[in-house]
Amino acid sequence: MVGVLVRLRLTLLRNQARGGVEKVLLLVVSVLMAVGTGAAVLVGLVGLRFVGLDLAGAAVVVLGAVAVLAWSLLPLLTSSDDVLVDPARFALVPLPSRTLAAGLLAATAVTPMGAVTVLASLAMAVTFSRGPAPAAAVAVALVGALLGSTTCLLASRTVLTSAAAALAGRRGRELTIAVGVLMVALLGLTGPVLAEVGERLRTGAVDAFVQVMAWSPVGAAWSAPWAAAEGRWGVAGARLVVAIATLVGLWLLYVRAVRGRLQPTGSTRSRQVRGVPATGTAPGRSLLPDTPLGALTGRALRYWVRDSRYQVSVVALPVVVGMFLALPGLTDAPRGFALVAGPLLGLLLGITMLNELAFDGSALWTHLAAGVHGRDDRSARVLAMLLWGAPATVVVAVLGAVVGDRPDLASAAVGLSVGALLLGTAVAAVSSVVLPFPVPPAGSNPFAGNPGAGAAALAQQGLSLLVLVPLLLPLLGLGAWAWYTPVVGWLLVLFGTVYGTLLLAVGIDVGGRVMDRRGPELLGRLSR
């Protein structure tokens, strides 16, 4: 059975290599990433042979622990489409869960990243080929590498399988998406953090931390050869025991998780809408006019709160903006950096709207069949964003000027930000009906993308920016003037608002006409 699953993995890889351009590209990218990572680890481990044993040992422990953690957490975000992950797919095949677990684990080792992890870690033998008995240290290193890399693979399967039940539900998937976006947004911080850790490693300030890691389940396998190279055989043996115990524990957990997935699941929990009375007459909503436009706007507002694809923006934008606001305080970036936050938020909010119509997918028929006017549809979607987006942009622009130590530029920042927001929205009001491209439905992995939509997405975003950038030039010109003559900022507020509103009105009108004329064709495009 293990052989069958490994062969299935190889068949899948071969089919991917024979698939369309995008599949092949994906495979090439994943192989390149794996080989690149492997090469870097290999060079690093060989290079560490020529530095002091204490530094080399500590570095290997930290690297190994990071590998185990990365293997445990990253697949939660990426491998949702891998058929060789979820044991539930094999529920109809009469197999003991232990056999299935072993097969799925072996199939993981035959992925590009899995194979590279196992092979590259063996280079640890080079790092520790020293000390009183080099040959014995090499042997310990080889055993440690196999234990450590197997821990990586097994940990990733155990976490994924245990999470599978939760991930299968809509809420779970949406939660992962939000966490994933947050993690991606925070990736920018990993560089400085790693540098800091390296610095501390060199100065020996994290000695205690490394000592704890060395005995912990995530580090024991990687620290055993270090002790062996020092000639501390007892310690090396004890660490190997910890590593083996970790593997056994993980294995038991994994088999249990597999067994759990093979059993039929109970009823799926459904979600109640929080805070919305069943009648749908929340106090704030009655402020919207009692017209189709009011209904459309209310619906669009609800979607900003309830649809994971909108939530992605709602979660990611504050992180990005916050980084710009906080950067001058945290690093030695120029303080003026914070001034960018407002205009950036305005621009990004506009860009979020570029393909907003496509989020409805084929559900757009509801609007067509109700004879909604294109202009109402366009206006409502814009309104629902501007109602909170415009105040937020103004606040961030002012904050940026204050944090950036140029309060005199607050008016200019507000003018530029509001202008950028309105212009981006104006372009989006047209682009989302003229060049929409289908997007993955809500609740699916937003990183997965939609095969075939790549070129369309590129065309839409590229063309939209091509239109948007020249439109922004007058604002940027005034902005540059205001930099030297801050009082011009007030002119920028006036101009940005009027110019932006005018173009937004044009955008809504044009977009609305297109929608009225080509509604069925739009529906056809989005139903694919």
Partner: protein, 255 residues
């Protein structure tokens, strides 16, 4: 040609090289409960999409309640109530929210839309679902909430694509009663379905579509002739292919 509540003339739709609907003519008399049947891929959904203004035909004309659909989409949408098959719904709304929303898009005042939504969902036994989002509904519940959306603006012609799919027998009975009531009050209903027994029992008139054309139409009695509607349908669709001499090994499992 007599003009009914809904009539198609020379309706044609081509996808690439496939002719999905081929110069189709169809007349649905006012006040009838009309069944549209046909094998998989016969062009039922394509036809219904074109009659409801959701798919532009390559050629032909559709008139609903006196309105030329493709000449005046706005007015057509006012007289039509639609339940499409295979299209998404705005499923991040709860049932009451979705029905009320649909009603308000049709121009109903908020209070009127809300009370109609509550009444419809109560009749369709969805009142208990309350604040559950439609995305968490079962397939049958989705059909029912879709039906409520199609009815909320009191259309004159209802076009329902596979309204009974995944609907349990109890709800099915309710829906049938609802549709009979709708036609008794002067409305017209067009339903497509695979289930012949259901069409035979529910509808007063049927049309059989095969390969994008109407091959038989009339009252249920006229179309079915001597045998059952199912037998007639299989015959019109080109007959059962039978099993031939194959699959004999299936028998071994019982021995």
């Amino acid at each position: 040609m007599t003009t009914g509540a809904l009539s198609c003339e020379g309706l044609t739709k081509r996808y690439g090289t496939t002719l999905a609907v081929d110069r189709l003519d169809l007349t649905v008399p006012a006040g009838s409960l009309f069944g549209l049947v046909g094998p998989n891929g016969a062009g039922k959904t394509t036809t219904l999409s074109m009659t409801t203004g959701l798919l532009r035909p390559d050629a032909g004309r559709v008139v609903v309640a006196g309105v030329d659909v493709w000449a005046d989409l706005q007015r057509a949408h006012r007289v039509l109530g639609v339940l499409p098959d295979g299209l998404a719904v705005l499923d991040r709304l709860s049932g009451p929210e979705l029905v009320e929303y649909t009603g308000r898009l049709h121009g109903l005042p908020r209070a009127e839309a809300a009370s109609r939504a509550a009444e419809l969902l109560d009749v369709l036994d969805l009142a208990d679902a309350g604040r559950t989002l439609v995305v968490d509904y079962s397939a049958g519940m989705r059909k029912k909430v879709g039906l409520a959306c199609a009815l909320v603006h009191a259309p004159r012609v209802l076009v329902l694509d596979e309204p009974f799919e995944a609907v349990d027998p109890v709800s099915g009975t309710t829906i049938r009663a609802l549709l009979r009531r709708f036609t008794a009050d002067g409305g017209t209903v067009v339903v497509s379905s695979h289930v012949m027994a259901l069409v035979e029992q529910l509808c007063d008139r049927v049309a059989v579509i095969v390969a994008g054309q109407v091959v038989a139409t009339g009252t249920v009695e006229e179309v079915r002739g001597e045998g059952s509607l199912e037998e007639r349908f299989v015959e019109l669709s080109g007959g059962s292919r039978g099993l031939g001499g194959g699959l004999s090994w299936l028998a071994s499992s019982s021995g």
